[in-house]
């Protein structure tokens, strides 16, 4: 789950991490009001959107007068950045930057721990630094049983900063950011750039936090900040029904049990010359209601012209799945052709049951996918 920069900075402030003072505004007037109240000649106006690259898109501007504040606020509010409409901006105090750094905590799969990532190449896209100059990136894996004792925070800070005055500010910052990360079940807590001002102060200029979806149940304060976009709403709606759903742009709607098999199904559709319309993992069980809900979801996409149901019968046997499908389609009115492939436990019995129905039943995954692609293409003409 993503949150906005200003929300991340609210968390920073709660955890005593110094940020450039700023206020979120939803219209031009409050931008001007904020400009007055900040007592700072120079301010930065920053689009608040759930995507990166807002700087390149013109979503970050410096203003030095009420006129400039108005001009930039008008330009940025309402702007479209990678499909995200800007409905609020942050107006933040300008800072005299002496030098810029990168600092974040992320979950690292390989060390199976939280990792502190730092670089003296602040303000840049860290993935770009990682790709072009990996030696400029410092990584420290944190032992979850130990956390970050002072010596470790100091060791890290000495790797990043030359001045002991700055090191002394960085030690609690590193410890507090880790505390914030673990206490909110974050998956990313990033400060980029972390700057040293000309006055020698360490300040977070931009902040980004992502959170572990699996932990939202115990993080009500985080969950309250969830602002799904249209697509996320669709995915969330699917999730509430026990599905995993990701929308794509093809024609062949897929309904599969299991995430890996669902991905493999999409891949094979593409391999066979077709275009998958979605990823949809309906999980286990042969419950007809689940099939009905899944079909509703797939057919709500006007692009879909074929539905492919690929089920591996394991613990749930194929004959039970077939009965569930037949039951479900009693309640579904659709003229979209449906290809069904059942494999696994009792597959012969399952296929027997599907005989004489309007489904296109296929024996192997290859056959089912060939058939779906063929049907999909024929329906476009």
């Amino acid at each position: 789950m993503k949150i906005h920069e200003y929300q991340a900075k609210d968390f920073f402030t709660q955890y005593s991490i110094p940020v450039a003072e700023g206020i979120v505004c939803r219209d031009v007037d409050s931008c001007l009001e904020t400009y007055k109240n900040l007592f700072s000649e120079v301010v930065v106006i920053k689009a608040q959107v759930h995507t990166g690259g807002r700087g390149k898109a013109g979503g970050v501007k410096i203003a030095k007068s009420p006129q400039e504040v108005r001009q930039h606020a008008e330009a940025i509010l309402g702007m479209d950045i990678k499909g995200f409409k800007v409905d609020r901006v942050m107006v933040a105090q300008g800072v005299n930057i002496a030098s810029e750094y990168y600092l974040s905590f992320v979950i690292d799969r390989n060390s199976r721990s939280v990792v502190l990532i730092m670089s003296r190449e602040g303000g840049m896209d860290i993935e770009e630094v990682a790709a072009t100059a990996p030696e400029k990136i410092i990584k420290i894996a944190i032992d979850p049983l130990i956390g970050i004792p002072e010596f470790l925070a100091r060791k890290a800070a000495f790797m990043l900063f030359d001045s002991f005055d700055v090191v002394k500010q960085a030690v609690p910052l590193i410890q507090n950011l880790y505390k914030l990360f673990t206490e909110t079940d974050a998956s990313l807590a990033e400060i980029n750039p972390l700057v040293v001002t000309k006055e020698g102060k360490l300040i977070a200029i931009d902040g980004k936090m992502n959170f572990d979806d699996n932990a939202l149940y115990r993080q009500p304060e985080v969950e309250a900040l969830f602002e799904p976009d249209e697509e996320e709403k669709r995915e969330q709606d699917a999730k509430s029904k026990g599905f995993s759903y990701v929308h794509l742009k093809g024609k062949i709607g897929c309904m599969v049990n299991g995430a890996g098999l669902a991905m493999a199904t999409m891949d094979m559709i593409k391999l066979y010359g077709g275009e998958p319309a979605n990823f949809l993992d309906i999980g286990g069980s042969s419950n007809p209601n689940k099939v009905i809900e899944a079909m509703k979801l797939l057919t709500s996409d006007p692009e879909v012209n074929v539905v492919l149901i690929n089920i591996f019968g394991g613990i749930t046997r194929c004959d039970d799945v077939a009965r569930g499908l037949i039951e479900a389609f009693k309640y579904l009115k659709t003229d979209i052709p449906v290809v069904i492939r059942l494999t696994g436990t009792n597959e012969a019995e399952g296929r027997e049951l599907l005989k004489g129905t309007s489904f296109h039943s296929a024996q192997t995954m290859s056959m089912a996918i060939s058939k779906s692609v063929e049907l999909s293409k024929s329906r476009i003409k």
Binding site: R109, V256, G258, G260, L261, A264, D281
Partner: protein, 287 residues
């Protein structure tokens, strides 16, 4: 032989009185697994499906000689369940539950390491050594005794692959689903090593998917350390960046973790990659 589980496995089911725990405990026992105990705090002394229930895993170890634990408790209780098992005296823990907070897994896995106990999962289908022992939720009947090891990040996709192997007459020594979350226990490197050292495994199938760089590491490891034939499959060629494809771990972040990178890594390591599951038996036979 086989790896990790066999006829000597004595299983305790954590959460045996829950719906899933009870259902799969019965299935496992039916397959022939020695399900010697279950746990459910406060229900110690009772029986579930004829299996004695204890208040703690430690009791199951002491009284029934359990050496392996499988976890079916709800996600919020998984961290404690793993730690309990790790402290109890079992040597292997398999966690089936999905939706466990990542930081809980980070902590529990570290604790298991400290105790010298192996963890598989969470969010995994478990593992099977066909004809010997089944621990988890895999459908036992599609497997066949044999000499090919299977390692996978997925559930039903594994069954699909195994089904193709079995139909082609290729049996399995042990098949393991490592789990679809970003942080899980035993993974490719540890398992490849075990299969390499297992005298009854002749070849290995590795089923990967998008997200992370574990497949790239595995490719390198195979090149450097594995002498047995390996065939691979990678799911998620068509997955878009930034979207979680069902598994919390299956997500392409900032252009890394793509299927292409993984396929390329295997190609460089001389490991053939199937473009569809049905090709795997032929890729194995060709080596």
């Amino acid at each position: 032989m086989s790896i990790l589980i066999n006829k000597d496995t004595r299983l305790v089911v954590q959460g045996i009185t829950g719906r899933d725990g009870g259902f799969h405990a019965a299935k496992m026992a039916e397959y022939g697994t020695n399900v010697v105990a279950g746990t459910s705090p406060g229900k110690g002394g009772q029986h579930a499906l004829g299996i004695p229930v204890f208040n703690s895993v430690a009791d199951a170890v002491t009284k029934e000689g359990a050496n392996t634990s499988v976890i079916f408790v709800p996600a919020p209780f998984v961290k404690d369940a793993i730690m309990e098992a790790a402290d109890s005296g079992v040597s292997l823990i398999i966690c089936i539950t999905e939706g466990v907070p990542t930081l809980d897994v980070v902590e529990a896995k570290r604790y298991a390491d400290l105790k010298g106990v192996s963890l598989i999962g969470p969010n995994c289908p478990g593992l099977i050594s066909p004809g010997k022992s089944l621990v988890g939720i895999m459908p036992g009947n599609i497997f066949k005794e044999g000499r090919t090891g299977v390692i996978s990040r997925s559930g039903t996709l594994t069954y699909e692959v195994v089904y193709n192997l079995t139909l082609s007459g290729i049996g399995q020594s042990t098949a393991i689903g490592v789990g679809g979350d970003p942080v899980v226990g035993l993974y490719y490197l540890e398992l490849l090593k075990m299969f390499e050292n297992d005298p009854e495994t002749d070849s290995i199938v590795l089923i990967g998917e998008i997200g992370g760089d574990a497949e790239e590491q595995a490719a390198q490891y195979i090149k450097d350390h594995i002498t047995k034939p390996v065939a691979a499959f990678i799911a998620g060629v068509t997955a878009p960046a930034g979207k979680r494809m069902g598994h919390a771990g299956a997500i392409i972040s900032s252009g890394t973790g793509t299927a292409k990178e993984k396929t390329d890594a295997f190609a460089k390591a001389g490991v053939p990659v199937a473009s569809e599951p049905a090709q795997i038996p032929d890729l194995l036979r060709a080596q």
